[in-house]
Symmetry: C2
Amino acid sequence: MSEALRHSALLTDLYELTMAAAYFENGLRANASFELFVRSLPPQRSYLLAAGLEQALDFLEAVRFQPEDISFLRRHSAFVRVKDAFFDYLKNFRFTGEVWAVPEGTLIFSEEPLLRVTGPIIEAQIVETFLLSTLTFQTMIASKAGRVVAAAGGRGVVEFGSRRAHGPEAGVLAARAAYIGGCTGTSNVTAGARFGIPTFGTLAHSFVMAYRDEEEAFRRFQQFFPDDSVLLVDTYDTIAAIEKIIHSGLRPKGVRLDSGDLVDLSRQVRHRLDQAGLTETRIFASGDLDEFVIADLLARGAQIDAFGVGTALATSKDAPALGGVYKLVDVVSDDAPSYRAKFSKEKITYPGRKQVFRLPNCDGSFREDVIARDSEHYPGAELLLSPVMREGKRLMPSPNLGQIRNRARGELSRLSEPCRRLQNSEPYPVRFSRELGALLEDLRHGLTHLAGEEAT
Amino acid sequence: MSEALRHSALLTDLYELTMAAAYFENGLRANASFELFVRSLPPQRSYLLAAGLEQALDFLEAVRFQPEDISFLRRHSAFVRVKDAFFDYLKNFRFTGEVWAVPEGTLIFSEEPLLRVTGPIIEAQIVETFLLSTLTFQTMIASKAGRVVAAAGGRGVVEFGSRRAHGPEAGVLAARAAYIGGCTGTSNVTAGARFGIPTFGTLAHSFVMAYRDEEEAFRRFQQFFPDDSVLLVDTYDTIAAIEKIIHSGLRPKGVRLDSGDLVDLSRQVRHRLDQAGLTETRIFASGDLDEFVIADLLARGAQIDAFGVGTALATSKDAPALGGVYKLVDVVSDDAPSYRAKFSKEKITYPGRKQVFRLPNCDGSFREDVIARDSEHYPGAELLLSPVMREGKRLMPSPNLGQIRNRARGELSRLSEPCRRLQNSEPYPVRFSRELGALLEDLRHGLTHLAGEEAT
């Protein structure tokens, strides 16, 4: 039941199913390839960290139409003329195709395919909506996390945003992606249980307010979590709360500042804690933080050891959507690929299956990427896309999240500083290969020449 | 997702559970009241439409700890000192409290509680994260939809954003909220099946590209969906595609423009369609639309009959998070309420259970709101909060989505034009009652006076 709902084939746009019915009726059973990529980076981003592949592959392996899904479609006005054969097909629907993908935690840039699906066109079409929302959402959050973690300069960042995420499930996935992007952990317990992500918590204002006295609340919590407690000190007056902690002899692991001038407060708090011998007590800060606020706090000398970042991270607030697309690039019949491209004035899609070739400098840092036909060769280049699924089955066990997170860290360390700066970054060089450009022109010419009769 | 997964008590922040353990151990079984409200509206919003209550109540009725959830907590380092009695308590955990709420589809403003939970403090605390993410997300999307629908001035707006939503489940909930906010329907099939929302679809570029010839693609689709087809015409060249439709004798229900200058193109397309006698063929527009783009298109004379709005709507892109909070307002022991408030310099929370009194003008339009103690009376006022759950059970069947949507439309019609304008709107008058202000001052004074000893 659980998996059935999470992997329902109805998690799609209606037109995927009406098109499927039309393909089916027209006997179009050809294999097609679709590539998923982000058309352009938001102004506030200079790189992306790929994430979400695990959930995408889970879905592709498990996607099904349940009997009630098919009943729903049978009753839908759009399907009144659709014959039984199509619904019988849906009953046995499986994803049987091949998938190439960029590993999670890999740096990617605009126009670079992070996933390619090749399979019967109906199957590849029906899974589009799920793949896009899963991959672009997690990629967006992992990328935001990369920035926030960089701003914290080695201090821990805990993802705290579940309450502001786009629904409870988005909170869980945001926690996963934020961990990939370098966060120390999350407050989201389901993310801990489901994915093994370290989970952290402090104390809420309500706990302090539930007792008649702030000191009593601190004492009650501290006695219960002697090794682990992070006491929230801004419910009434931050400095007064610190004095209460000191005078009561509590030695919490940390205190959390959640409002006020965090530079000034953190310095005062550090000073008082040190004076009182609580040098081990760490200062944790939260409250509408993002990469810019964190960088600014640290630049102004804030004495903060770790950060809790919520809304800005779990919603990628300054860039809450990526322009992810899933484009048909070829249709194979009789083993001969027929390339497909889109030529509308504003949006061009390059035809054919692609590979991303990443060319390193001598020191191992990344020099430039070439998006090329998958048949091309670039000596010394790292190939970003590799096969991960054939005939609808994973080819290998998934890496664990720790490995993915390490990969992301490694990748970021190979991106030059000007390209990963928080502001005024330089664009990382990405170009299309000449061969790919030539294929596009051939196809465009063919189209023009044959007045839409023959596109290959 | 299964009911067990969707209603898992682990869909929460870790600190809710550590605080629960501390309350449990300390014997704090008092009833507490928490109020959920939005602290301030984003700059681009002048009102909110409450949404998400249905999913919130579903959760409260069904929330459980599964045996594996409890095993996870037992292994968690934060719970090493927690005794078995607490885990036994979790085994039988139910939400047994009372809930007051504003009906879905009701207009609300900043600081106005849209939900109040009263129950054993542990229960009320554990459900916080789920309630916040569910209610603020759907409220945010319904409110955005209200704006987009208003901009369309009576033309249909279909929510198209699942692929850019924050994961697949967010897409389903966004579709629900968008429908409440006035959309005609959605492209999301699960939203149609689960909630009965009308679902719509057109045609993707890939379908056009899958055939060797655009005209063939149109013919194949049209023959299959003769009454329902909306042909996408911008894959290669919009005007050329319209000519193909005309010359081939197809009479689609609609055509969809997805790129280019929509004012100019829609006028040309309308003109050519009318010339050719296709006066019934409607023009549907999509492609990075939002309320401002739509208002501008219509102001400049675009000939568009309906809009598909995706990213901007499903992510509330210009304001992708609401500052929702869930604040303790009283703790009841021995039947005497002890009020709670927060006084940190920047953030004040008013104490005690509140009601929102909405005062109408003679013509039925809304004049002003007073946030007051729930014991106050304002003759002629509408009371926004009413009981919806007691002892953990719903008090009445839920209204259907159509009723909720009608309610939203009715509410918006009673808000003055200056207050619901897309830009430069006037703030709707909301004030706290004098009695509430006095209670806050008493409490603050009491606190100061008693130096944190006694907060009541």
